[in-house]
């Protein structure tokens, strides 16, 4: 135990023991460590040390190779990302050559109808359409349940055509 170590022990022991006991404890430690000094452990063979140094050299090479691979992968990934960015940029640039497209949003439903609480009452066309749709709806139901006694498939096709006509005439105004 060197001087610094002894001082450290004294300070520590005096926290737990009175000074006489602390002194005894330090003496026990000093004598105990003296046994270890008097019985040195064997030393490693020179050959073992040589082998370790060779192992270290191999480990350094492995570490450098791994670091190089990691850097290379990183560079490739960055290059790929840059190429992708450029490609996207070029594409956007090409699209951007023409006049900017002006988008105008507007409603196809008249304002009066839109704000009304009773749509069908406010708009005559819409009222007609609603009535016709309701009529076709009841006819479809009748066909579905076989109440009209006709050929279901043909009737349905006719109704479909009728619906198409109503739809287009409504939007034509």
């Amino acid at each position: 135990m060197n001087g610094r170590g002894e001082q450290e022990f004294r300070e520590l022991f005096e926290k737990f023991l009175d000074s006489k006991e602390a002194e005894q404890a330090i003496e026990d430690i000093r004598k105990g460590e003296q046994i270890l000094i008097e019985h040195p452990a064997p030393e490693p063979d020179e050959q073992v040390v040589g082998n370790i140094k060779a192992e270290i050299a191999k480990a350094i090479l492995r570490k450098k190779a791994t670091a190089f691979r990691r850097r290379a992968y990183k560079a490739v990934a960055i290059a790929a990302a840059v190429i992708l960015l450029i490609a996207v940029g070029v594409k956007l640039f090409e699209k951007g050559n023409g006049e900017p497209v002006r988008i105008v949003a507007t409603s196809i439903i008249p304002k009066v109808v839109w704000e009304s609480g009773h749509l069908a009452d406010e708009d005559a066309d819409l009222a007609t359409l609603t009535a016709e749709v309701e009529e076709i709806e009841s006819e479809i139901l009748a066909v579905k349940f076989g109440e009209n006694g006709g050929n279901g498939f043909t009737d349905l096709t006719e109704l479909e055509v009728e619906l198409e006509e109503i739809n287009s005439s409504f939007w034509e105004g």
Binding site: I29, L36, P40, P44, E55, I56
Partner: protein
């Protein structure tokens, strides 16, 4: 101080991956680390392996050393290497126990081999409990401050201090006993 500067230079070299710096580190610490492993295992062959493992591990981990007492850091790695070995040994022993007949022949062989190898101190150290033995050996070979040893072992300083004191006292009593 000059010694500290030299060590700092060597460590910088190691961090750069310089083989000759590592070689200097081996020359500086191989004996102490070997002593540490030998006193804990009692086997030269195992100590050879653990010493090799320690220094190869240093190559991988040297960049995790961020200053402070290098010996403290080094022996912390050494202690981890030793505990990994212990865990592996316990696993192997459990596997051996599964094969009863084999274990008997192997245990006898191992006992004979150990007997030839160990010195008197080693035999007496073997009579201390594992934990106490480790505190004594760590303190002696690492030469780091006691506070650091307690921190390395994650236990209150009073506990570590008491283990060291009682352990060394017991070791002296055992050494004074006639065979």
């Amino acid at each position: 101080m000059a010694e500290n500067d030299d060590l700092a230079e060597i460590i910088i070299g190691c961090k750069r991956g310089d083989a000759s710096s590592f070689s200097q580190l081996v020359d500086m610490y191989a004996r102490r680390c070997y002593g540490y492993f030998y006193r804990l295992t009692g086997s030269r062959d195992v100590s050879d392996d653990l010493l090799s493992e320690l220094f190869v591990k240093l190559v991988e981990r040297i960049n995790t050393y961020k200053g402070g007492a290098f010996e403290g850091w080094l022996f912390r790695v050494a202690s981890n290497v030793f505990h990994d070995y212990l865990r592996g040994k316990q696993r192997r022993e459990r596997m051996l126990k599964a094969e009863k007949r084999q274990i008997e022949s192997q245990a006898v062989g191992a006992r004979q081999f150990d007997k030839e190898e160990i010195d008197r101190l080693q035999e007496r150290l073997g009579k201390l409990d594992e934990d106490t033995r480790e505190v004594i050996i760590l303190r002696f070979y690492s030469q780091v401050s006691f506070k650091e040893i307690a921190a390395m072992r994650s236990e209150p300083i009073g506990t570590t201090l008491s283990k060291l004191h009682r352990g060394l006292k017991k070791l002296r009593e055992l050494m004074e006993q006639k065979l």
